[in-house]
């Protein structure tokens, strides 16, 4: 028994509530036994600099398309039941939520694998950019120059 979920992929300014997303994904099936969640949050330190604020921007349509591709490939390749991916944009303070990936499977192993793959794939393929504000000013982060 599977139920299609609404809004499994979201890019949004507002914060999300992890419990709500977990309860949403549980509705996909009564046969979920393991749910693995990755939550990325704003760290204070980056390469020795003290960060005061983060700012994310995305390429609309393409970013959502890439997240949907990641979700579908995770379900297909890892045999999980469902995946939710949410990324925030705009201003984000230290300690605040940035990105959430929820992978629900019958067993934990595939859920761990799918979740870890999905966040790496998101960083690799999804057009989202981070700007860090430090005492020295603002800089766009280029993780892979």
């Amino acid at each position: 028994m599977s139920t299609a979920l609404e809004s499994t992929i979201r890019i949004q300014r507002e914060d999300f509530i992890v419990t709500d997303e977990i309860e949403a994904i549980k509705k996909a099936s009564r046969n979920i036994g393991g749910i693995v969640t990755f939550l990325g949050t704003g760290r204070e330190l980056s390469k020795g600099e003290n960060i005061t604020q983060l700012n994310f921007e995305h390429y609309p349509k393409m970013a959502e398309k890439k997240l949907e591709e990641i979700r579908q490939q995770a379900i297909r390749d890892y045999g999980i039941i469902e995946m939710i991916i949410i990324h925030r944009i705009g201003e984000i303070d230290i300690g605040e939520n940035i990105v959430l990936i929820v992978a629900a499977g019958e067993h934990r192993k595939e859920a761990f694998k799918a979740c870890e793959w999905a966040i790496a794939e998101l960083k690799r393929t999804t057009p989202i950019w981070k700007r860090e504000t430090t005492s020295k000013g603002e800089v766009w982060v280029q993780d892979t120059p």
Partner: protein, 83 residues
């Protein structure tokens, strides 16, 4: 018309969010980079030197790709989403 979108550091470099170019019904990224060089030589150079990823209609393309009238081209600095 071809729409060109600039993101993140490239938007700062271009000084704008997007450009419109009329380059006929079919052209190349090479030709587009030369047009861009007229107002933003550094960006044109980055395109030719493969220092920037390029998407056409929301899919990443190889440098030699053909582009057509109506396409949306985006210049994408290295991604840094995720956390």
């Amino acid at each position: 018309m071809i729409t060109v979108k600039y993101f993140a550091s490239l938007r700062s470099l271009a000084g704008k969010e997007e450009d419109l170019f009329n380059l006929g019904s079919e052209t190349t990224l090479e030709r587009l980079s030369e047009e861009i060089s007229k107002t933003a030589p550094k960006i044109g150079e980055m395109m030719r030197g493969k220092k920037v990823m390029i998407s056409v209609n929301h899919e990443v393309v190889v440098p030699g790709a053909v582009i057509r009238d109506g396409d949306e081209v985006a210049l994408l600095p290295p991604f840094s989403g995720g956390c």
